[in-house]
């Protein structure tokens, strides 16, 4: 008796083109979020931000200059350039001058850009500081920023609508 073998067609290769499309979209989205601009609105590593109910918008024509205050160091700019320690910020005039010059330079660049491209961008100082540091350091940075013609100063916080209730529970 003659055996009849069923003929199987070659299995079609798995099409991964659509999957690739999805991954490309996700990749573009992630790269955008990780960009330098977005870093300004993310929580810096190893920093405990204070919590607030208030969440204000950054002014639409504001260009931010970032200052990060850690308990052990001060970092300036999006590039996180080291600018000494908190103790130096208070005691060392040279450290304050370095920060002041950086801020002034950034503010001047924004003004020059405004003149060149006929825009009205405003320099904004964005302070990201650990909630455990003392206000004397914040005062120092605010003074330097105000001196370097930063009229708008923002503090980064974590939004928490219930922090007041939580603090009440702590007291009780």
């Amino acid at each position: 008796m003659r055996k009849v073998r069923r003929h199987f067609e070659d299995s079609a290769a798995l099409s991964i083109t659509s999957l690739l499309d999805v991954l490309t979209i996700i990749l573009v989205f992630l790269i955008k979020n990780v960009s330098m601009e977005a870093q300004r609105l993310t929580v810096p590593e190893n920093m405990l931000l204070p919590t607030t109910i208030t969440n204000q918008e950054l002014m639409s024509n504001g260009l931010t200059v970032l200052v990060k205050l850690y308990p052990d160091r001060v970092l300036i700019g999006t590039e996180s350039l080291p600018a000494g320690t908190l103790k130096q910020l208070v005691e060392d005039k040279k450290t304050r001058e370095i920060i002041y010059n950086y801020m002034q330079n950034e503010a001047d660049q924004i003004k020059a850009m405004n003149e060149k491209s006929k825009t009205d961008n405003q320099p904004c100082l964005l302070i990201q500081a650990d909630k455990q540091i003392l206000c004397q350091y914040i005062t120092q940075i605010v003074k330097i920023g105000a001196g370097a013609s930063f009229a708008n100063i923002y503090f980064s916080t974590l939004e928490d609508q219930n922090w007041l209730q939580k603090s009440a529970q702590q007291i009780q």
């Binding site: 991954l23 992630l30 206000c135 708008n152 916080t157 603090s167």
Partner: protein, 174 residues
């Protein structure tokens, strides 16, 4: 005379179009995406603003805000340590009435924000048109406490917060 076979008969030898090999690209993507996901910190970051241009006030060491007629200046003094006439807690000064003190319940820096919130609400109820408030902060107060005090002022209808250090601070920035 023999003719050569027509071109159309040789189609059997042509290979089907080869699709590009996407597997290495997929591998690259699979490595990149988890890496980028790790970099993103998913949290709701908020901003609290201090505006130094609005009423000419505000700012560390700057003179008090507001021009115009003699505006009522409400001060919230934030203190963290015990000393001569100071205590850990808040003191609220409103012109025309005595200072209101809100002392900390313990020595562990637990500020009574609930009482401050209530007091600010009462002050706002008495001064509906007032939008400015001055926060005077001692150097040893924690930044977190300062921000939460500013937060409560803004929540109680004082959008223009003027920030002042309590003591004459160190040299000028530049």
């Amino acid at each position: 005379m023999a003719y050569r076979p027509s071109e159309g008969r040789n189609q059997k030898n042509q290979s089907p179009p080869v699709s590009p090999d996407l597997v290495p690209i997929m591998n690259l993507f699979m490595a990149l995406i988890p890496f980028l996901l790790m970099l993103i910190v998913i949290s709701q970051v908020a901003l609290v603003a201090l505006n130094f241009s609005a009423s000419g006030g505000g700012g560390g060491g700057g003179e008090g805000g507001g021009g115009g007629e003699t505006a009522k200046e409400i001060k919230v003094i934030v203190m963290a340590s015990e000393g001569n006439q100071i205590f850990p807690g808040f003191e609220i000064r409103e012109p025309g009435s005595g200072p209101i003190t809100i002392k900390n319940a313990d020595n562990q820096g637990s500020f009574n924000f609930i009482a401050l919130n209530t007091t600010l609400g009462n002050i706002k109820a008495r001064n509906q048109q007032l939008g400015d408030i001055t926060i005077v902060v001692y150097p040893d107060v924690l930044y977190g406490t300062l921000i939460q005090t500013i937060d409560l002022c803004k929540q109680n209808g004082f959008p223009n917060v003027i920030y002042k250090p309590a003591t004459v601070s160190y040299g000028s920035g530049g």
